[in-house]
């Protein structure tokens, strides 16, 4: 197993390099001059020239890239054009926020999606199944931003149960932290729950109609045991893969959710950075996201092996 993981990590290096080259070039193709946005309303020529020089924007793109790469290899991701803060510091400040949001969203998605998916499969073609399908469809089709604003208006403004937006670190004030995160995590998890429910349902239906389940039933096992111990574990495989892939969607969704609920996380960081042409921040965030993706996929594969003993022989 460690050799397998090591190999996978080695393969990740060229992937990350390609991604970074790709993003670097794409950014340079974008119209808009970051320095103009940074120089202030007066756009003082002396300031513009100084900033261009400071951030090496007068150098050829390839030189800029190697400067950046050299920095990254030594742990220096550059400095934010907008706030003068080191990019690494910004990333380390924002990453835990989004991770907390993602974990809580995933928790909601799983808590809602998996049980309803199982229930829908077990009660296939009954009212329960239809109801679950309608629920899933609504979850998928309600836009994040609309649901977010509606929840704010209902739960925060009308009922006053939860704060409308903002963020508190879980280490500073855990209760307040959970209070501020419940709504955004629910909004973000909602669409994922629908996807998870659909996949759990179809995987469970597939498993429930297989021979060994019939055997298990014939042995006289209780329906509960058949469903949870025999079917669910096998149906879980595609669900795990999906959850890892959904992590990407989660980050994309976080961009919008963080904007609505004003959560100072990764999504908000990258949106602001793109609008301000804050190259170093965009580059750093994309690199981190790519690393996150690769790790999530690696974890999913490792879980696969753990869940399915037959795969252990193949690695």
């Amino acid at each position: 197993m460690p050799v397998y993981i090591g190999k996978r990590l080695l393969v990740a290096i060229p992937t990350l390099l390609i991604i970074s080259i790709f993003v670097f070039s794409l950014q340079k193709l974008l119209p808009g001059d970051p320095i103009l946005a940074m120089a202030g309303e007066e756009r003082d020529p002396a300031v513009i020239e100084f900033l261009r020089d400071k951030y090496r924007l007068n150098d050829p793109v390839i030189v800029q890239y190697f400067y950046w790469l050299g920095g990254v290899l030594t742990g220096d991701f550059g400095i934010s054009l907008r706030t003068n803060q080191p990019v690494l510091e910004l990333i380390l400040e924002k990453l835990p926020v989004t991770i907390q949001l993602a974990v809580m969203a995933m928790f909601f998605a799983m808590m809602i999606g998996i049980p309803i998916g199982i229930l829908a499969a077990v009660r296939k073609n009954t009212v329960v199944d239809y109801f679950a399908n309608v629920l899933a469809l609504s979850g998928l089709s309600i836009p994040n931003f609309w649901l977010g604003i509606m929840l704010i208006l209902l739960i925060s403004v009308q009922l006053g149960w939860l704060p409308a937006s903002g963020y508190e670190s879980i280490f500073v004030d855990p209760v307040r932290s959970l209070q501020t995160m419940v709504m955004p995590a629910f909004v973000l998890g909602n669409a994922l729950a629908a996807t998870l429910m659909r996949h759990t349902r179809s995987a469970m239906i597939g498993v429930l109609s297989s021979d060994y389940i019939r055997t298990a039933r014939a042995k006289g096992l209780s329906p509960r045991e058949v469903v949870l111990s025999h079917s669910f574990r096998n149906a879980l495989l595609p669900v795990v893969t999906l959850s890892a892939l959904l992590f990407g969607e989660l980050l994309a969704g976080a961009v919008l959710t963080e904007q609505i609920f004003t959560i100072p996380g990764f999504g908000k960081l990258i949106v602001d950075a793109v609008f301000n042409r804050d190259y170093a921040v965009v580059q750093g965030v994309v690199l981190c996201t790519a690393v996150g993706f690769i790790l999530m996929n690696l974890i999913a594969d490792a879980l696969y092996v753990l869940l399915n003993p037959r795969l252990r022989a193949t690695i």
């Binding site: 946005a37 924002k94 409308a164």
Partner: protein
């Protein structure tokens, strides 16, 4: 009895320790996150709002846009307008305890002029030398007369920072800013909050009734208002005009608005590269026709729910600098058509570059349909702000919508946009006569003379129309009923002197 007294004393003392006076915490929702918190380097509007509480300036601006003493108690121009002497307030301390004297003022001004990262250089370009002419007196010597220096010193260029901190932190001053305002910096979490607390040694502390201020950037206007209504915020700035009715209808909230000192405008490419070479850029009659085809009042009523005012000059109609002999024109389609005919055409194609925010888009769509009637086929090119700015600077546009946040001195709303060598003259309009008028206005310390010059310039600009002014938005604030003492100011700042939260 003795025992009873003792017990009472103990209980009373206990109660005092257990229930300290409740700290008054004011939470303010801002539209954006501030950039770097160094007055020398900062460039955002919201940054200035934060400084209003944190960094006192040499000069303040009153609600009627007059200069008022703050760190400078009085000032005097020399007869030739090339020297400005300022008396500095005695007994002022910076948040780090350093005394604020003439030397500290000189250090700040020199820092603003020389720090490589400084964005204040052009604002202080007329200053040749600044020196301490006494322990509490500063003398500015100018290269040429420049009355606009006062307005620069009433903004970031005049915010005096602690020389001790500036020396220690250099360009990184923004990480822990130390000024001499009523509130001192506590902490900042990017995109989340900026926290300030009351400065006990503030020179004007009798006017400060708030113990802690937290600024929270919440870009979405609906969410910002929802936070105010749910009680998470006490005060918000830039309420969307569409939300005004909701604020007014909420008995728990108060509302304030004032027409701002900036403007909304369309910039015509007159001479900025090859794209200026078209009838719209070359023939003023076509631009006059375009301007006449716009119903400014209707546009403001529909888009801004009546909170904005129409305009045709860089200053709003309620400004003392507005030329009253040139009233905001009413829509006149017949005259617009006649002008087009005189220019030898009946239909003109125009590409209008606009920022991709919903309000600007809605406003420009209305404008598009208005001018169609007069003979203009306008295509809207929607683009996000950084691109718009870039295209405008490089001259890759025909007509571009761009707004200006406004400056207290009239010069700040016109000189750099209109003069031939103006730093942000993106239209590349150049008229030596206008240049002379605007330079003369800058050099005179007599307001009557300045007004005459601006009036004369307005007549020419209204005829040649390199910039088609559309109107002036209002600053709109909403706050909880228990917040009192706020005085709206056309500069859009939130001054906390006198503000109480009951």
């Amino acid at each position: 009895m003795k025992r009873f007294t003792k017990l009472t004393t103990v209980l009373l003392a206990g109660a005092l320790f257990a229930f300290p006076a409740l700290a008054v915490d004011l939470r303010i929702g801002l539209q954006d996150d501030a950039d770097v918190l160094d007055p020398a380097q900062s460039r955002t509007f919201v940054g200035r709002i934060v400084y209003t509480a944190m960094c006192d300036k040499l000069i303040d601006v009153s609600p009627d846009l007059k200069f008022a003493p703050q760190l400078a108690t009085e000032w005097k121009w020399s007869a030739d307008g090339k020297e400005l002497v300022m008396k500095i307030r005695d007994g002022v301390k910076f948040h780090d305890g350093t005394a604020l004297d003439a030397a500290a003022v000189v250090a700040t001004i020199e820092r603003n002029m020389t720090l490589p990262e400084s964005r204040r250089k052009s604002e202080l370009a007329s200053v040749a030398k600044v020196e301490a002419s006494g322990p509490l007196e500063v003398k500015f010597t100018l290269k040429a007369p420049d009355v606009t220096l006062l307005s620069q010193l009433s903004d970031r260029a005049g915010m005096i920072v602690s020389p001790t901190a500036a020396k220690a932190l250099g360009a990184n001053f923004g990480s822990k800013p130390v000024c001499a305002g009523p509130f001192k910096f506590v902490e900042r979490v990017q995109q989340d909050r900026i926290v300030l607390e009351k400065f006990a040694d503030y020179w004007d502390k009798s006017k400060i009734f708030i113990d802690k201020v937290t600024y929270l950037p919440i870009p979405d206007t609906t969410v910002r208002l929802a936070n105010l209504r749910s009680g998470d915020l006490d005060f918000i700035e830039r309420v969307a005009p569409t939300d005004v009715a909701a604020v007014k209808g909420d008995s728990a909230l108060k509302y304030d608005a004032t027409v701002n000192i900036g403007y909304m405008a369309l910039y015509a490419n007159i001479g900025n590269g090859a794209r200026a070479d078209n009838p719209f850029g070359k023939d003023k009659r076509i631009r006059q026709a375009f301007s006449l085809a716009i119903d400014r009042e209707a546009m403001n009523q529909i888009v801004y729910e009546g909170t904005a005012v129409g305009g045709n000059q860089p200053f709003p109609p309620n400004s003392p600098w507005f030329n009253k002999s040139l009233p905001v024109p009413a829509r006149d389609v017949a005259k617009a058509k006649a002008l087009l005919k005189a220019a030898g055409t009946e239909r003109v194609k125009v590409e209008l570059q606009i920022p991709n925010n919903p309000v600007a888009q809605q406003m420009m769509q209305i404008l598009q349909s208005m001018v169609t009637e007069a003979g203009f086929d306008v295509s809207l090119k929607s683009t996000e702000f950084a691109t718009l700015l870039d295209e405008q600077t490089r001259g890759n546009y025909q007509l571009s919508r761009s707004d200006w946040s406004g400056r207290v001195d009239p010069d700040g709303n016109i000189h750099q946009f209109i003069t031939c060598k103006g730093g942000i003259n993106d239209t590349k309009y150049c008229n030596p006569e206008v240049d002379k008028l605007l330079n003369d206005a800058r050099a005179s310390t007599d307001d009557a003379v300045r007004k005459q010059k601006y009036d004369a310039a307005a007549v020419i600009l209204n005829d040649e129309l390199p910039v088609i002014y559309l109107g002036h938005q209002s600053w709109i604030w909403a706050y909880k009923k228990n917040v009192t003492g706020f005085v709206p100011n056309p500069d859009g700042m939130i001054r906390l002197q006198g503000v109480k939260k009951g």
